[in-house]
Symmetry: C2
Subunit: 725 residues, 2 copies
């Protein structure tokens, strides 16, 4: 994930399709990676910085609130404990995960692998709908789009980056920073791109740079997934709500060289789950928080949510609602897309609601004024910091002018078919690969290229009818948003309608065939130029405008914001030191907390649900229908088995799939969601209402045993060893 | 229209369906009828109040800016001129119209009668798609849903209303005001409900009450409509844009007692159209402006647009996009619904964009502070006015809590099928008709009942597939917005899914049959109670909650706002006298202006388009495809015939169909749209950018002659007389 590059995305890899999101439970606003501690809770709860009582904070492992942990919980994690957590808590796609046996077994959320499940599904083997269990290692199914990253080491490189960017501003700053980061990554990674990944993460908005080296596992196989209907029981209506009954779990296995990977460092299960009052930890990879944006940036976020993001997602939802009534396989693709769209929409609506809360603005304004006053009061600091707020405010004007076009053209939101993203990767590949690493578009960096190539060549299935419909809609939106007289709209549409174009393009293109994509990738510039595939032609035709827009956006927005943010970080360190946690950036963090309910409309929401509650909520009509196996199992799973539970951990999208562990390093839960109050967590942590939602280990073990007859998997979880190995 | 009653609607008649809007070009925000002059342009252009130079203002005929008209244009309208305008400019549905011959010929926009066109369309006679021309009076087709209202007289009744409401607040105020208004209407109307309509209009937010008597024409027949493709050429992409080429015109005729109505008072056409620099008038019925809302109300409007209205409309747009690909007749219904949805969405997006303009807030705040200071400075005034701003702000908190539920349950947005609205009318009819007029729900007042009954009994066609799909979607939204555990959601859905319910209800209901509806209406309470139609059962089941919500909303929001607004009006009259125009309320107004282009991205937009431009814009793909007849006509219509043109008139939704006249009382244009800058017109008039868009009479006459071979109609327009009578 590293820092997301901008407002509409410029996503780190080129396969993102607007309406078919990556399998992240709570996709974040794609705003300039903001890395600054919360200003809100400070005013909100009036506690001192770093209080673990408030459960606030997504802490880096090298800067835990040790004093508070010790005084409140008598807990002092040692180096071994931290090293264990660092290795056993891993990243998968945009989600978190954990290693849970010595045989490379990895646990994450079902919703983190739905794309893989959909791709593996066939009429005969409907993996997503009916679930899947591999009884033997050789039955495990490859998830070609997934890779698992395990953090091996990290090193502070702030001094090197600062030396390279000293005194630069604007585009020059950005180019120098890109170059030094690429160089550091390359030196770290050397020629081991297939098994290592190095990247420089920006913390505290440029206050700190950290070089991270990951072990990269690219052969990831599906071991077990329950049925969609129980994994996402309650569907969109219950999403971000609690009480809740979701068996939102999937088991994967890491393979290398045709063997499961040996993983002596892993978390063993604690079947009893979390105890009342017990200190609990969530190691995970929260994707992005925006707690340190300036007021001007927050205003722009609100306006974009209201005028662009939410209307687009809402339209897509209406489209998917009807597409999901079509015959198979279109139905399955539409349902998958709808679940992503609905999830994203709920996140955005929660964020927008938070941004219509007057108290939030009062807090943000107060903190901004306090920092400005701090700078004004110290002439030497003032000379170095200048007025970053004004620079950032000017960049917001550029955002306002550019973001629609950037989203539609530079990011390809107007061409919502995977064919387009494949074509763009193919067209850009030879151009970018010819450049030195530090000068390429970020998604073609040496550390990203292996994944780019693997995804391009993977035999990912798609449904032509679904893609045609979605493409027609996105072309219609292009014309609707930019108007029929916009030069790119005129160029793309010519005398044809969106429907005519979508039909012709999807019919004529061969980019849905992995072999054709591999041929073009391997054929390089010559093959690319010779191709008359309609999507290749489209990408070539709009490439000058697309690149120009992206460059303009990077120069006028991203570079300005990034450089100004460094000066803001300087001011904030001067005021607060490192007593705060940085904004989430998709890298490993640790949150602390305990079991805790909350008050909703005057009533106490209890911390746990049980199997009995699931049976009461079952109506038989989706999304409130237990799958056949559960109905067949009758009372085999006891009514009092705990199902889901809530804690006060500070989490955000990207934390999905995180293990919840106790101080003994046993996992006691699997984080999969937050309550609806947690959606404002992008901007502030509210200790009174913000809650994380997890799957209880008991329901995982009990259902594996009694519903799925997966005795071997139960034993592997309990002992760390698969029985027959 | 009178004053719209609230934020989400509580529309004046019970037939409104969320996604099948009334045929008004620019549907307004349904916010408490705000009746206060613009504060913005005052700051914006720095001119004195009432300057006709600024072209701002929707003036009542009894309070024209006479001094400015005289000094700037040497124009002094006399009583005869005004009386002529008052009779010849009429209302039709939510639109404006004009009488244009002595034989009761009425001209309005095509988009104002699309619902009628859709209802008249059959496979053999696709009126909407292919257009229609009645060559003989007996061929004219009845538009059963339409009535034309012609203002006969008005009388100031402020003193009577104020006497009845003196000293009252909250609900008591509202009830007393309702009662006295109903009484005044009844006295005026007596027993002539079939041909007269009386209503008390609230101007200046309660500063003035006017009793208006209308002649009511209920037998309205279609004479001519061009093809959809030329009436709405450019479709949604060109909507609210200019340059433009829309033949957005339809001709109707008033009938009574089996004969066309004699209308000696009418506007004759001026075929040359408007002259450069010439003073031009738009008499029409602007629906609603919100120029006098308080800052707290505007904030709530913005939040609701962003979090409720636009997301809902966007979803509906995605749904309609796909539904419009189905087979006929579903396709036609979906296209009709989509065009309404897209139009509404563009309006709302324009409004929201305006509400994200910092300058607007600065202006509104400055004016509010100035008025507060004025009140503070005059103790006697202060004693009478109090703090209406604070009362209104509190009412906004109630809006925030209630508006979603009111929209979905009290207004029926969750049950988006005409069956539901029919059922509610049927269930409420006997209850309300048993009460005295002033105590009924407004939509059952004596003055509304004839239209209610006519609509209920009209054989309005509908498409079961379309209704089922839309209903399923709206039920899904109900659950999504209020959550599965909301008591009404539980009660309505029970153990069934939205899809199951929608299918069953639409299949089992007989309310799509006019005869069944008539039977239940005429059968009264006994028939209603005996009916086991699923929609009747649904309405009965949720009636207690629906009524309770409506009452709560009226007491906590509408009554508070209405009473506080009266005190605001008092303060404003004290400061400004009557030198300003009231906010639009759907009643007759006069706007002034001239031909004027504007600057767009540094380039001058010319005032006129011509037939040559239409031919250039024709691509052959909808919505940029001229219909067959136009293609067949070749060069019969000269390339230089003017098509559409722009003027600086201050108009808003509801002005659609307004004639534009010169000082001789000849019509020189037919208003049908505004440019996109005009969408902020709800909140302020911007003389630099805000433009009205009209059809030129030349293209109407030339196309009638050379494309539609409608020589008789040309003669009737030119001479005021149909040739064969």
């Amino acid at each position: 994930m590293s820092e997301a590059s901008n407002a509409e995305g410029l996503r780190p890899h080129p396969f993102h399709c607007p309406a078919a999101a990556r399998p992240v439970k709570r996709r974040m606003l794609q705003v300039q990676g903001a890395v600054w501690p919360s200003v809100v809770s400070l005013l909100w709860v009036g506690t001192l910085l770093g209080s673990v009582e408030a459960a606030e904070g997504m802490w880096t492992l090298d800067n835990l609130p040790r004093t508070a942990l010790k005084s409140a919980h008598a807990f002092e994690p040692d180096a071994a404990w931290l090293a264990h957590v660092q290795r056993a808590a891993v990243r998968v796609g945009g989600c978190s995960a954990s290693i849970v046996s010595e045989q490379g077994l990895v646990m994450t959320n079902h919703h983190c692998v739905t794309r893989c499940l959909a791709e593996l599904s066939t009429r005969e083997r409907p993996v997503k709908a009916a679930g899947f269990l591999a009884r033997k290692p050789q039955d495990e199914l490859s998830c070609t789009g997934l890779e698992v990253l395990q953090l091996q080491s990290e090193r502070d490189v702030t001094a090197q980056v600062q030396a390279a960017t000293q005194g630069l501003t604007g585009e020059a700053f950005q180019k120098a920073e890109d170059a030094v980061r690429a160089q550091l990554s390359r030196e770290c990674q050397q020629d081991q791109a297939a098994t290592k990944r190095c990247e420089v993460t920006v913390l505290y908005r440029g206050g700190q740079y950290v070089l991270q080296q990951y072990e990269r596992y690219s052969d990831v196989r599906l071991v077990w997934a329950p049925e969609d209907a129980i994994a996402a029981f309650g569907g969109d209506p219950d999403n971000f709500n609690f009480p809740r009954w979701c068996l939102d779990v999937a088991m994967l296995r890491l393979w290398r060289n045709g063997q499961p990977v040996k993983t002596p460092v892993h978390f063993r299960v604690e079947p009893k789950g979390p105890m009342a009052g017990e200190l609990l930890f969530v190691p995970g990879h929260p994707g992005q928080t925006l707690r340190s944006l300036t007021v001007a940036q927050l205003e722009r976020v609100r306006e974009r949510l209201a005028t662009q993001s939410i209307p687009a997602a809402s339209e897509s939802r209406g489209l998917m609602h009807l597409l999901s009534q079509r015959a198979e396989p279109t139905r399955t693709w539409a349902l998958q897309a709808m679940s992503n769209v609905e999830n994203g929409l709920k996140v955005q609506q929660g964020q927008l609601q938070a941004l219509f809360t007057p108290a939030l603005w009062a807090m943000k304004l107060a903190d901004e004024q306090s920092l400005k006053a701090h700078v004004q009061g110290k002439p030497a600091l003032r000379a170095r910091v200048g007025d970053p707020w004004a620079d950032i405010e000017r960049a917001q004007q550029s955002r306002r002018q550019l973001e629609q076009e950037v989203g539609l053209i530079a990011e390809g939101g107007a061409f919502a078919a995977p064919h387009f993203q494949y074509a763009r990767t193919l067209v850009r590949g030879p151009v970018e690969r010819a450049k030195p690493d530090g000068q390429r578009l970020r998604e073609f960096s040496d550390s990203s290229l292996p994944m780019v190539e693997r995804r391009l060549k993977a035999p990912t299935p798609m449904d032509q009818e679904f893609e045609r419909e979605r493409l027609e809609w996105s072309l219609t939106r292009l014309r609707s948003v930019l108007g029929p007289d916009h030069p790119v709209v005129r160029q793309v549409l010519g005398d044809r309608s969106p429907a005519q174009l979508a039909r012709a393009w999807i019919q004529e293109s061969r980019l849905h065939e992995a072999a054709e994509r591999a041929r073009l990738w391997d054929g390089g510039a010559a093959a690319v130029q010779a191709s008359n595939d309609p999507f290749m032609a489209l990408v070539r035709a709009i490439e000058p405008q697309a690149r120009a827009l992206r460059e303009r956006f990077e120069a006028q927005v991203l570079a300005v914001e990034r450089e100004a943010a460094q000066r803001l970080a300087l001011a904030q360190f001067d005021r607060d030191g490192r007593s705060r946690y940085p904004d989430a950036t998709g890298t490993l963090r640790l949150s602390f907390g305990t079991l805790q309910g909350w008050q909703e409309a005057g009533a106490e929401v209890p911390t746990h649900t049980t199997v009995a509650g699931l049976r009461r909520r079952h109506t038989g009509a989706a999304p409130f229908a237990m799958p056949e196996r559960w109905l067949g199992a009758g009372a085999a799973v006891a009514a009092d088995v705990p199902f889901n539970f809530v804690t006060n951990h500070d989490i955000i999208g990207g934390n999905s799939g995180s293990p919840m562990i106790n101080r003994q390093g046993r996992w006691v839960g699997l984080v999969f969601d937050g309550n609806r109050h947690s959606l404002g967590g992008s901007f502030f942590y509210d200790p009174v209402l913000n809650r994380a939602v997890s799957v209880h280990p008991a329901v995982i073990l009990e259902s594996l045993k009694s519903v799925y007859a997966a005795q071997d998997l139960v034993q592997e979880l309990l002992t760390g060893q698969a029985p027959d190995r």
